[in-house]
Amino acid sequence: MQSNTEAFYQEQLKRVTNEFEDFVYIVSHDLKAPIRAINNLSVWIEEDLGDNIPEDVKDNLRLLRDRTERMEKMMNAILQLSRVGRYDLDIKPVDLGQILDEIKAANTAEHVSIHIHQDAHNQLFNTYFKKFKTVIEELVKNAVIHNDKEAVEITITLHYPENNLAEILVSDNGSGISAQALDKVFDIFYTGKSKDRHNTVGAGLAISKKIIDFIGGSITLESSENSGTKFLIKWPASTN
């Protein structure tokens, strides 16, 4: 009897998983095709009109393309969010400090400085290293976007108190987050800044939060307007 119930739920699980895979495929393939088509059509209209296009028509064509691009990015973000528990699942012993150094080395923006402090040298963490990298990259991206200073300063501190939780503090000298917005920053597609001026759809923090929930860690933030933002992550040092 018990094995019958188990078989029933196994079957249910299989069905739901297949439905999910179909849904993801539809979003990633079938829905993107018409968006790309709209984008192409706007390019062709502009090409076919030649040199004498009024400025306001040009502006509207640009906005049309911009919005199709945004929609595609939003779809990609939903896909990434929905796949958190299914992708980048490789686990190996890694030095988190080394991943931070790689992120710092990959930064090519001259107005952005990343400072790293750590007391976990050569400490190996058996963890989802790709997910760790994604989270820190998203926090760095967020710190750069929400910054009104000429020189962007980001400090990442890695501390390991040896209680099986690594603590990573990411702080910036940016414009900060108002008290009303604090509980919204992890919502998908929430942005504190205009989506027009910044090339963002507001998904990075939502994806980061979902990753951290998935691995069983925590993320909290401290911020007020004009005083920069501090994110504190507690990341399980070992995943079995």
Partner: protein, 145 residues
């Protein structure tokens, strides 16, 4: 190339994709006549002359979409392979479906290539350019019929 490659047949149902491919042909200065069929059934009629005016000489090159109404690309291929006089047509799949199963089925039906149809125009122009260069490189049989 010009004397051998007079006719190309494009089998594609999506109007925007058709326009994208036509524009890529134009940008690459491909001068062969491009004939258009909206599905596999229409294409068969044009190749055999049964139900539609026949294309002469028979196109050496056929660009074939997979997902189409009435008769899809792979069903078209299966039927096409039954006509001895159409055996020498080189078929290139041009699809946006990057799926192993479809690729395997297409190559089992002896396609000359499986090409992913980019919706990005610049990418498609580049792919069509590679095809043009390849068609200039290879010798194609002269259609006798």
């Amino acid at each position: 190339m010009e004397n051998k490659l007079t006719n190309i047949l494009l089998i594609e149902d999506d109007e925007v994709d058709i326009q994208n491919i036509l524009r890529a042909f134009k940008i690459n200065n491909i001068t062969a006549n491009l004939h258009l069929a909206k599905n596999g059934k229409e294409a068969l009629e044009m190749l055999t002359g049964k139900g539609a005016p026949i294309i002469k000489p028979t196109p050496n090159i056929i660009l074939l979409d997979i997902k189409m109404p009435v008769m899809d690309g792979l069903d078209f291929l299966k039927v096409l392979r039954e006509y001895p006089e159409l055996k020498s047509c080189s078929i290139y799949i041009l699809t946006s479906y990057n799926e192993e199963e479809l690729k395997a089925r297409a190559y089992n039906l002896n396609v000359a290539g499986y090409i992913l149809k980019s919706s990005d125009q610049a990418e498609l122009v580049q792919k069509i350019k590679y095809l043009k260069d390849y068609w200039q490189l290879i010798e194609l049989p002269n259609s006798q019929n």
